[in-house]
Amino acid sequence: MTGTAPVIDRLPGDRRYWFLALGVLLLAWPFLFGSFWARIGLGALMWIGLAQSWNMIGGYAGYLDFGHGAYFGIGGFAAGIAMVQFGYPFVVGFVLAIVVAAVLAYLVAVPTLRLTGAYFAIATWALAESIKQAALILEITGGTFGLSLPRSPDTFIGIAVPFAISETFFYYAMLLLCTATMLVTYYLFERHEFGYRVKALRDDQDAAESLGIDTTRVKRQVYVLSCVVAAVFGSVYAWYIVFIHPNDVLAPIVTDRMVIMALLGGLGTLTGPIFGGLLVFLLQRLSSVFLGSSTFYLPLIGVLIMVTVLFAPSGIIGILRGEVGRDDVRKNLKELGEKFDLL
């Protein structure tokens, strides 16, 4: 540890004012910058929320869910099927997405959470891939043709609403969902007794059990909660993007992104996914602005991940908190150098 104070605490003035300014900026965002930046903003909010949903099971509970993206796609298809195949308004699809994701997550949780570590990671990955393959074959999901969702004003609650279902609408929807996800995370994992149980389970399952914690129950609760959050975002996303296809919304890249964002930001922390989500989303989406038409950002992200894991395992949040100083990097380098003693 170096003597430098954490960056967060070095902000001038009262922190409340910064939050207030941020709040005003977020609320005014789509009116200040127009529809393109509203889209970028809502994309960032969505990915922050998704990264946080992975962080619940992956960061707080320590279960490496490599199939989490499946619930994003399930949420999307649940809403899509309700609207396209049955002609229900979006709210019905939204509720259906929550119910389907919760039921499925519970059914998956019971056998799968008995596995740990890499076994759990591979099992969830295989399951997510099977779900994607099934969606490509089934007729109700549109099979290989995907689904095109309707978006006229009466598709929201069944009767025509007096406002446009536009970028601005979806921006506020995502802002609401993202804020709600943050509050739930803060309350449940940082303040409530539930969070202590989850962390105890992550750090030492046997010890947690000896303290009388029903670890099986806690694990299932976290898993179902995190999956439902992902599905909620998926359902809104499907309506927003209009056309959904298994190769897009059920692609493994969805999970990969959540993991990278949570990790780069800082695992098992409330604010880590915010920083990680913003960084990775903007790096990918705006790469064409800064790096031209190249794919150079891909190897760049790869290097970023490797360097983070090597030198700053607690992520951006660790750096901001002053946990990773110059001395730590030096110590890390020295230890690493010793491992190259090969001859």
């Binding site: 490496l64 570590g117 393959q133 891909l298 790869g302 190259f340």
Partner: protein, 297 residues
């Protein structure tokens, strides 16, 4: 109605496909079981190997086979230098050492895939070979494509060599000792870093040259890695983590399942069936279909 000619050909296809998976599964099983490295970059080693084949073969009279010795040496050296990095992130007082290892190799995979895509562009490239072309028709059985047959032989030989090294040589004993108990191995004066690097280098070398064979069988493209990562994981799950001989059985099961599903059920269902099998095997018998893997975490 089952057509006998088609049936035997499907068996041949399945077995040879299994042979391709064996070439990937052997090294990966070593890395997974012995080094306890869960390597997400495995498929990208295959991809980079295939690209080395595509780029270097024209220099050797358009013959991919001649590239293999080079790939063996280069990948061994690179692998030996990567292992200390992985060792570093999976030990010490870090939180989630397993996740760190997974994510580090995930970053490596992203780097390799993106790097090749940026340098060579997205198109697939031919890995030429004039020695391994066409197929040998065996009357009454079916056709054995030459390149696939040679690939399968290479995979099985790789397995035999690894087994010999692990169980009949001093170096192999050292590696097994490290796998048993790192601290004890160190106390006994074994240079852990060196032997782990040798093992990881050997894994990388075998996987990279498997990539050249796969390139000659199919072709080389920057996006090909992901599916081989998936198959490598399938192989260790079915074989049982760290149980090398199980790799052969796993290859046969995977290959035959794939070819029989494709022909007698539906081509569309192949991947669904494969992934579902992996999931079920993990739930029912996490130590592999023979039940001989380690039940490690």
């Amino acid at each position: 109605m089952v057509d006998i000619g088609l049936f035997t050909q499907i068996v041949i296809n399945g077995l040879l496909l299994g042979g391709i998976y064996v070439t990937i599964g052997v090294g990966f099983s070593l890395a997974f079981g012995v080094l306890e490295v869960v390597d997400f970059a495995v498929g990208e080693y295959v991809m980079v190997g295939a690209f080395m084949g595509a780029v270097l073969a024209p220099l050797f009279g358009a013959e991919g086979v001649f590239v293999i010795p080079i790939v063996l040496v280069v990948f061994f050296a690179v692998g030996a230098l990567i292992q200390p990095l992985i060792h570093h992130v999976t030990t010490g007082d870090r939180p989630h050492p397993l996740l760190m290892g997974l994510v580090f190799t995930f970053g490596l995979a992203t780097f390799l895939r993106g790097g090749v895509l940026t340098v060579f562009g997205p198109n697939s490239q031919d890995v030429p070979s004039s020695l391994l072309t066409g197929g040998i028709a065996v009357p009454g059985l079916g056709t054995f494509p030459v390149v696939r047959t040679v690939t399968a032989v290479f995979g099985v030989s790789g397995l035999v060599v690894f087994m010999y090294y692990l169980y009949r040589t001093r170096g192999g004993m050292a590696i097994r000792a490290i796998a048993e108990d790192r601290t004890n191995a160190r106390l006994m004066g074994i240079n852990i870093n060196r032997y782990q690097s040798i093992a990881y280098g050997a894994y990388a070398a075998l996987t990279g040259s498997a990539g050249v064979f796969i390139g000659m069988t199919f072709n080389a493209s920057p996006g090909m890695g992901l599916q081989y990562t998936a198959f490598a994981f399938f192989m260790v799950v079915l074989a049982g983590m760290g149980y090398l001989p199980g790799v052969i059985i796993a290859g046969i099961v995977l290959g035959l399942t794939q070819s029989f599903t494709a022909v007698y059920i539906s081509g569309n269902a192949v991947l669904l069936v494969l992934f579902a099998i992996i999931y079920v095997v993990l739930l029912v018998s996490p130590a592999g279909i023979l039940g001989k893997g380690e039940w490690a975490t």
